[in-house]
């Protein structure tokens, strides 16, 4: 189970090797899920770390995203006398795109980096090798609990983000700008569809993003060159690769789901 950074001669083969290595690593992770059930405590600890500890940043950011969205929409829609539709537009844009994407980007920055750095340091200080010596499967004990925790935590975080964004939009729109409270909610409930917007938009997208972000983070951690410089690079790569993967996957998912 010794994971080493895949090698390639130039940038293209290097990136291909990275993608291929990542895909193979995903299979290893999925195969290790049954074995990781005996480390349920570890999974819960990781869920606490990547999920519960990310709540503050997610809630604050969700609040401000909803507030600024409402502010912008209000000023544009007031030109056409359509300010009553702004609550609905906030809800739709947050559910379908902004909620999952921004949550995933924040999640990559908040949880992905620390996963990579933690596993990278484990690798650099030979803790992974020590686990193998003690007949503890590092994939089942270190990688899979973090992956599962990320996959479970992301949809929940995304729901919290969306709820806070709606709250922020309500705060700015109804409390400050004077949109009618009833209009705000009735317009929103009239267009938001549970299946299209909440299940497909919020839950499914954030589930996929959670899987991608934690897969990249864990993979980068496991394939870190065992030096302090290597850990630094791996952390950076986690953020860069996750962000690109999130936005690209978002387009693909939107194209398929809409």
């Amino acid at each position: 189970m010794n994971q080493r950074r895949p090698q390639g001669r130039n940038v293209v083969t290097q990136s291909l090797a990275q993608i291929g290595g990542c895909g193979l690593f995903l299979l290893t992770l999925l195969a290790a899920i049954p074995r990781s059930f005996r480390y349920l405590r570890e999974t819960i600890r990781q869920l606490w770390f990547v999920g519960a500890m990310s709540l503050t940043i997610i809630m604050v950011c969700g609040l401000f995203v909803g507030m600024v969205l409402m502010l912008q929409l209000y000023h544009v829609l007031s030109i056409f006398g359509g300010t009553s539709a702004s609550g609905m537009v906030v809800a739709l844009s947050v559910y379908r795109e902004l909620g999952p994407v921004v949550t995933a980007l924040l999640f990559a920055g908040r949880a992905g980096t620390s996963i990579t750095a933690e596993i990278g340091l484990m690798r650099a200080t030979d803790q992974i090798d020590a686990m193998e010596m003690m007949a503890v499967d590092p994939i089942a004990y270190v990688a899979t609990p973090r992956f599962l925790a990320g996959v479970i935590a992301m949809p929940l975080l995304c729901c919290v983000f969306c709820a806070m964004a709606i709250f922020g939009g309500h705060l700015v729109g109804v409390t400050w700008l004077g949109i009618d409270n009833g209009t705000f909610w009735s317009n929103m409930t009239a267009v938001v569809d549970v299946h299209t917007d909440i299940v497909n938009g919020v839950l499914f997208k954030s589930l996929a993003f959670g899987a991608v972000v934690t897969l990249i983070a864990v993979y980068q951690g496991f394939t870190t060159p065992p030096t302090s410089e290597g850990v630094a690079y791996a952390t950076t790569r986690t953020v860069v690769a996750s962000s690109i993967a999130i936005l690209a996957l978002d387009f693909v998912l939107t194209a398929f789901l809409m």
Binding site: L47, A52, V194
Partner: protein
Amino acid sequence: MSQPRSSYAIGTGLFIVLGFAALAYLATQTSSVANVHQGASYIIDTHFANIGQLKERAPVKIAGVRVGQVRSITLEPGQEVADVKLAIEKSYDRIPLDSVATIYTSGLLGDQYVGIQYGSSKKVVAPGGTLALTKPAQQLEEMLGKFFGAGGVADNLGGTYAVTANFTNIGALTVGAPVKMAGVPIGSVQSVVADPVKLDAKVTLAIDKRYNQIPDDSAAAIFTSGLIGTQYVAIQPGGSPTALKNGDEMILTQSAMQLEDLIGKFLVNGSPSDKKDAGNGKPSASPAGKQ
């Protein structure tokens, strides 16, 4: 060692509860659960001559209150009739048999829905029964046509004679569109076909026999009623002493103005390169910036 673990567990539990609470909030407070929730319902069959843009799962309303949704839309085999099955909630089971089902549009541009107006019959529609009285969707084009005095011209004609005219572009002109002279309908468009040799549109106009004094050098032009109205053929009389006869061709024609062309001209100040730019996908305002 067990103390920090249980605090993790509590924190994680709180996080999960909060996440699901947020999900429940999104699903119940900000979306229409009623659109998905389907209680016990029964099916009513209706037949419409035209369903417009009606879609499956569109609401069914009585007095504006949602009572069900459109279950399925199929074409009646062998007929030009749409078979629309409505799923009505069980609690609304006293719909009179002579009620009228109508396809309405929410607002000017909104989605379409089926509205049911109660009749006076004592009998109610049984589950699986049929509402015989329906009104088809009002097509915006027809309404505008009526509004602009264009509808129903061809019906009250005593007899017509056919005249052809070739246009390089007919825009959205359709068969049945009115032919007007001085704004008064005098006939209708009988056929629109592409000429395989001249590579333009050959339009056959059926003109009322009463108007048999139209000079043969008159011009035919395609105009639009208002900004978003239907298109019609306008005949501008010439000065020739001989009149148009059955089978004649009108030489002078003016094609339909395309809104896109007009806007393009407006944006680029009539620059002839606008079409080229539009074809290349560049913003058509760029030549104006260079000038």
